[in-house]
Subunit: 349 residues, 2 copies
């Protein structure tokens, strides 16, 4: 097999997946180039791409992890995507549109995008999956790769599962071969949209868990928050992606790693959980936490919440999603757990 | 409404549920007696039932929590069940049969049992739900009450959800009224058997989480263990209770508190998890942990595992339940995480 891969994004997750792919190229004797693109930036006054090329370590975003020698690192987006058969999209959601505009018309027409980026494009009352945006902008196929994957643990080869959401049967095996390995087990599921929605809304539920935990609620309460979050994620998929569940049965995809497992990890160990808890404990705004504790990096959960709140209000679906809406209200105002728990307490369905 | 309730079992969970019921009697003006029966035993040389009657505190099993005044405490099993309309069964699994034999023919014929006890009766190649045992022995109706309910948190009125598994529509509302309150939300589900199986097998999965965590695997790995455990619990219900799931869809009951939520709590905060982790870390037998750390109390997960292992072997269903069986093997021998993770890594379905 000959395959050129471009990983778009050299943060902790982009670097980690590059490591997985690079190792698979070596171990499975796949031929072709693996290129990791990262935004031009410096670390300790040195160009980061050059530093990684020399040291094999992404000291800024994935310190202590050696990247395989067969990965080329660059900050030139055009050379990265030139001739690529697979585009692994791992940039933060807020930078995605700009990058898609840059590489438009530069990508092979039979290439396939694999989306690692979490986020939906809310635009007032409208909503679009990232896969739809990519299909429209680049005119190529797109699928998703998401699951219970704290980057540092995968980078350290601790065992993880992952879900490949696909639509196109033809490319499934090629992609499995690219990503699957002994410590990173990939399961394919023909339901790409649900995988994307899970990946995005889990961060919203994690914010709720952080708030509730910061207010010293117990383990039972946290489990109730996760469970109620899962139920509204299912409903969201029914309404905006594809109606699949019934009052008695729920699609298997929510039992995949991208569903219940990713929720568990994100809501108990993820950044959105941890920093929301800290904000609730200290009773300070999340923007202060982002500044003081995260070097100005933004939490995905809060930017999703901002857009989701407008989306729910514009579409007048507050009653359909009382739990997600309560999270939006709490996170946007006083980080109180009251509204969130009231919804669970009063639920009648 | 007039209703006599006997809570059979005065451990931490029996005491906690007595508190919930007692409060509901006072707040909802339900008439009748609430009696908590506990095994005759002493605490600091004083009869425990008398001590609780005097101090309103179960200092041995639920210290620091005041029980409502309307609860009568007794060690006389016959006076406890005499005239009871509802028997709340909260004794440990290993004592259940003996107590059922004692109260046989002493119970009102239209009484209903509510099972809080976790466990299945494995008997070599045979298996019986506790509800079936109770129905057979006492000749009364039975349903189950299980969920993400760490006792101490419920006792402290921290918000929890719970699932009432019932079969008989007629008694549902009466039981909801008895248990449901502001901090303990009970959802009815007409699938009592699945609720029971979840309550029992969650402890087996929690043992696996403890072993894997004790071997310093990461959060992603733990989520994978919980997820794979859930999938085999579903399969177990399909095979031994009622075939409900398909390759695409899974019954809603597993999304109730008794399912995914209870698994999350038990596998991250429960006793079976904590002490298994300790045993794996120290590389010592679980029986030593039970002696040294638990005053000789037994972990439910391990007694279930012992019976489940025989059950799987006698029925030759090792291949149908590779994950549960790997847990049985690991827990019965070296507490190694290798077998458990190998099953997940090699899974092809």
């Amino acid at each position: 097999m000959r395959l050129n891969v471009a990983v778009i994004g050299g943060g902790s997750w982009g670097s980690t997946i590059s490591k997985v792919i690079g190792e698979n190229y070596a171990n499975k004797r796949i031929e072709g180039n693996v290129t990791m693109w990262l935004y031009p930036e410096t670390y300790n006054s040195v160009d980061l791409a050059e530093l990684i090329t020399t040291t094999r370590i992404n000291s800024k975003y994935l310190p202590g992890i050696e990247l395989p020698k067969n990965i080329t690192v660059t900050s030139d987006i055009y050379s990265a995507v030139d001739g690529a058969d697979v585009l692994v999209v791992a940039v933060p959601h807020e930078f995605l549109n700009k990058i898609l505009q840059q590489i438009k018309n530069k990508v092979k027409s039979d290439a396939v995008a694999v989306i690692l980026t979490k986020g939906l494009f809310f635009n007032g009352s409208g909503m679009e999956l990232i896969s739809s945006t990519i299909k429209k902008t680049l005119n190529i196929r797109a699928c998703t790769l998401m699951g219970a994957n704290i980057a540092g643990d995968v980078a350290n080869s601790l065992f993880s599962e992952c879900t490949l959401g696909y639509e196109d049967e033809e490319i499934k095996d090629t992609l499995l071969n690219l990503f699957d390995c002994k410590y990173f087990k990939v399961t394919p599921v023909k339901d790409s949209g649900a995988v994307e929605v899970c990946g995005t809304l889990k961060n919203v539920v994690a914010v709720a868990c952080g708030i509730v935990s910061g207010h010293k609620e117990g383990a039972n309460t946290l489990a109730a928050v996760i469970r109620n979050g899962l139920l509204e994620i299912v409903k969201f998929c029914d309404m905006f992606v594809q109606k699949s569940s019934t009052s008695e049965m729920i699609p298997r995809v929510f039992f995949e790693s991208c569903g219940v497992a990713d929720l568990i990890v994100t809501c108990t160990s993820g950044r959105n959980f941890k920093y929301s808890r800290m904000a609730a404990e200290k009773n300070i705004d999340i923007s202060r936490i982002e500044e003081e504790e995260m070097n100005g990096q933004k939490l995905q959960g809060y930017s999703t919440i901002k857009d989701l709140k407008v989306f729910i209000e514009e579409n007048k679906i507050e009653k359909e999603y009382p739990f997600l809406y309560a999270i939006c209200l709490s996170a946007s105002s006083d980080l109180s757990s009251k509204r969130i728990l009231e919804v669970i307490q009063n639920r009648t369905e």
